[in-house]
Structure formats: C-alpha cells, structure tokens
C-alpha cells in the first residue's frame, strides 16, 4: 500500500493540541483542543483506552506518535513495529503518523531515549532507506521529528537545518517541527535558533511540538516535565510570523500540574501563534513569507 501522500492531500492539523496521556484523561475531555497525539507504543489498537476513544469520537484527529522504530539506527525497521503503527493509524483514522530522526537501541540494549544520529551522508543514506521501507508499509503519510540532544557526534558534516531539509527532500516525508528541540540544541550547541528555523523545511510541516524544560547548570534540558520556557514561546511567535504553520501540540509527560496551569500553557501557545500571525499580516511580508501549500 503506497503511503506517499503529499502534504497537499491532507487537511491540516489546526489549533492547539495535546499529547494524550492517561494522567491527562479528564483534562483532554474538558480542554478545547484542536487535535491530539498519542505515543503509539503505549496503546493497543484493539483495546483503546476509553479516554482516548472518547477524544477520537468527539471528532478530534489523533496522531500516532512512534518512539520505537529507531529509523536512524543501523537495523532495518522492525516489521511488527511498523504493523502496529499502521494498525493504530487505521484504528484512529489518523491523517498521518510521526516518528523520530534518532536511534533508540543498539547491541540489544534499549536506550530508553531518543539518541542523535551523526549528521553525515552515511546517516542520510541509512535514514532514507529505513524511512522508505517504513513509508511503504504505512497507510498514511509519515512526519519526522528532529530530536534534542546534549551530545553531538564528532565529525558532523552539516548543520541540523540542512540535515533535516535534505532528509525531507529525499524521502518526501513531512516535518514534525519541534520548537523545544530546536531551542534546546541551539542553546546547548551555540547556534542562532531563528536563523536556523528559516532553513528548516517549513513548507513540509505537518504539525508543531512544544514541550517544557528547564535550565540547569548552564544547559537546557528538554524534560517535558516542566513549563514551556519563554524562549520556546518566542519561537512559536516567530514561526507564525514567517509561515502559515499548522497546529501546535503541547507535550507533557510527567510532573503533571493542576489543570488550570495546563490551560494557561495552551492559551500562551495560542497567544504566541496569534501574535506571530498578526505581525505577518501587519508587515504585509508576503514575498519573504513561506507560502503554505498545504491542502488548499
């Protein structure tokens, strides 16, 4: 079953979204969400958690978000994992699925974390082969998320924006733009996030992630267990100032705060996006603004 659907054929995910977690079940029911996402490995398609089923039946799109395919790893994607992701996409009638530009296992050992790949031509080749194999077995489009990493491989040949752009161009995959990951890597490895943001493949954005983190000992840690920092909200605003971006999804994995705090976070994300869009409208910045060719 071919999976090469271009971004043009799917309706954009819009508004502000939430990564569904069992601990956030009630909140997800009550919040005014535009869409949702669920960690693919945490859900059995034959036995959806009732809370997730409710969210889906209320009419929200739910995107299966895989963390276990290890597309950047040296092994070919596991058939059973692909089949699981495909089955979940079908069960949820999802418009697309997402996974990561990372590896999560080696030598029979799970990392329990998304580890970075070397930014080399060799990595691109392996990633392209693995992604193509995955796309062939998935019923919907695949969006790729770039990861935050404290370590960088020595011998990186190109920067992150170039690496991700090249990968998206070669595979036809979509981009899951994670502004917190971009912020983290820019901060920890000393590059300009705004300059890089413009060079990411913005025309291919399927949706956007933001997650919380914390500055500690001179480094930024992408924990998903803390509030979203102002620097990341500033990137949301910048993104909407330079392109007509689709929905932005908040990821919270732990240290769950009171609902009022989560509601405030969702509102802050929306406000940042609106400020950005307003700036773009005021400046009439049409020629430099990235045209959004999605689902028009």
């Amino acid at each position: 079953m071919s999976a090469r659907m271009s971004a043009r054929t799917i309706a954009p995910l819009a508004g502000v979204g939430l990564g569904w977690r069992p601990q956030l079940e009630g909140f997800a029911d009550r919040a005014q969400l535009g869409f949702a996402e669920v960690v693919a490995e945490s859900v059995d398609p034959r036995r959806l958690p009732p809370g997730l089923d409710r969210v889906r039946r209320s009419g929200l799109d739910v995107v299966p978000h895989g963390v276990g395919l290890s597309l950047g790893g040296s092994e070919r994607p596991d058939r059973r994992r692909l089949d699981h992701l495909a089955a979940l996409a079908e069960r949820l009638e999802a418009p697309l699925v997402s996974e990561h530009i990372a590896y999560v296992r080696a030598d029979g050992q799970e990392a329990g974390h998304l580890l970075p790949v070397a930014r080399t031509e060799e990595s691109l080749e392996i990633l392209c082969e693995n992604i193509c194999e995955a796309q062939a077995r998935l019923p919907v489009a695949l969006a790729l998320e770039h990861v935050a990493a404290l370590v960088e491989w020595p011998g990186n040949e190109i920067d992150e924006a170039t690496f991700v752009s090249t990968l998206v161009a070669r595979t036809g995959a979509l981009l899951l733009l994670d502004l917190s990951n971009l912020y983290a890597n820019a901060f920890n490895h000393n590059w300009d996030p705004l300059e890089a943001l413009r060079r990411f493949p913005l025309r291919s954005i399927a949706y956007v992630h933001v997650g919380g983190g914390v500055h500690r000992d001179g480094l930024y840690h992408d924990t998903h267990a803390d509030p979203v920092v102002p620097g990341v909200l500033a990137l949301v605003e910048e993104l909407f100032a330079i392109t007509d971006a689709p929905g932005v999804l908040l990821e919270r994995d732990g240290n769950f705060p009171p609902e009022a705090e989560l509601t405030d976070e969702l509102r802050a994300i929306t406000a940042a996006a609106q400020r950005g869009s307003a700036r773009a409208d005021r400046s009439g910045d049409a020629p430099t603004r990235v045209a959004a060719d999605r689902a028009r």
Partner: protein, 158 residues
C-alpha cells in the same frame, strides 16, 4: 559509497553503552556535554520508574531521586531502562537501608503480577501479613493476605 551499517551499529552501540553504563565515550565527544547527557538519562530512568511505581515514589519522597541516581550510577541498566526490572532492582538495592511501606510493596508485587501466569509474594510488615498473588491463564488473579509472624516479617528483602 554505500553506507556501512555494521560500522554505524558499532559506533552507535559505543555511544549508547557510554551513556548508560559509564563506558568510555568514543573519541571526539565533548566530555562535559557527554556526562551531562548520562546524568540526564539516569534522571529520565528515575522519572519512568516513579511513574510506574507512584506509591514507591511517594514513600521515598525527596529521597527518591538521589537514591535512584546513586543506584543507576553503580548498576548497569536492564535491557529496558525505566521499566519493571529497573524498579525491582532499585527496590532490592534499597531494602537493606530503607523500610518500604506496605503500599509500595503491594504496588510492586501487583505490577510484577501483570503476566499471563504468575506466583509471587511480598512481606507486609505494617499489616503483619504475607501478601500472595496467584495469576493463572483464564483464571484471573487471586490475592491472599496471610497473617504472618512479625518476627519473620522484620527481616530485610522484598
């Protein structure tokens, strides 16, 4: 030149083992960032174990993270970091020093019991009982709390 997957596999494994079990990092890695990454991974394992064993996390309170990080630093992770085995090994590492409350012990046993077939027990010093869980395929889970002499419950271990 075609990609050498075997060479990539070896390098990726080297980084992974360096991060998880303190092996030497491959040459060229920034060691300040590398050690920060290793600590961050141990913290992530700690959070995963805390999520899976909330009663345990609650029982240890502020002692949870430092204790877990100390355990993680000296113990190679199981094949699934942050999972049940990690939790069990962590609890085992604690038993000698900290008396876990009955709730945390019960929680761990019930989580271990989530298999098609299982038989296990844990001492509940607070209740003066031995908690036994039996699970058989197609037969459900049976739980029994058996009165147990307190002097036998006082010894360390799960």
């Amino acid at each position: 030149m075609p990609a050498d997957r075997d060479a990539v596999a070896a390098r990726q494994a080297q980084l992974l083992h360096a991060l998880l079990r303190g092996d030497d990092f491959p040459e060229g890695f920034d060691l300040r960032l590398a050690s920060a990454a290793a600590i961050a991974l141990r913290r992530k394992r700690a959070r995963a174990v805390a999520r899976g064993q909330p009663a345990l996390a609650h029982a240890l309170g502020e002692r949870f993270e430092p204790r877990f990080l100390a355990y993680a630093e000296r113990t190679a992770p199981p094949s699934q970091p942050g999972g049940l085995q990690d939790a069990m090994r962590f609890v085992r590492s604690l038993s000698a020093e900290i008396a876990l409350p009955d709730g945390a012990r019960t929680e761990l046993l019930l989580r271990r019991a989530r298999r098609p077939a299982f038989l296990g027990a844990t001492r509940l010093p607070g209740a003066g009982r031995l908690l036994v869980v039996l699970r058989l395929p197609l037969d459900g889970t049976r739980v029994r709390a058996i009165p147990w002499p307190r002097r036998w419950l006082a010894s360390s271990g799960p």
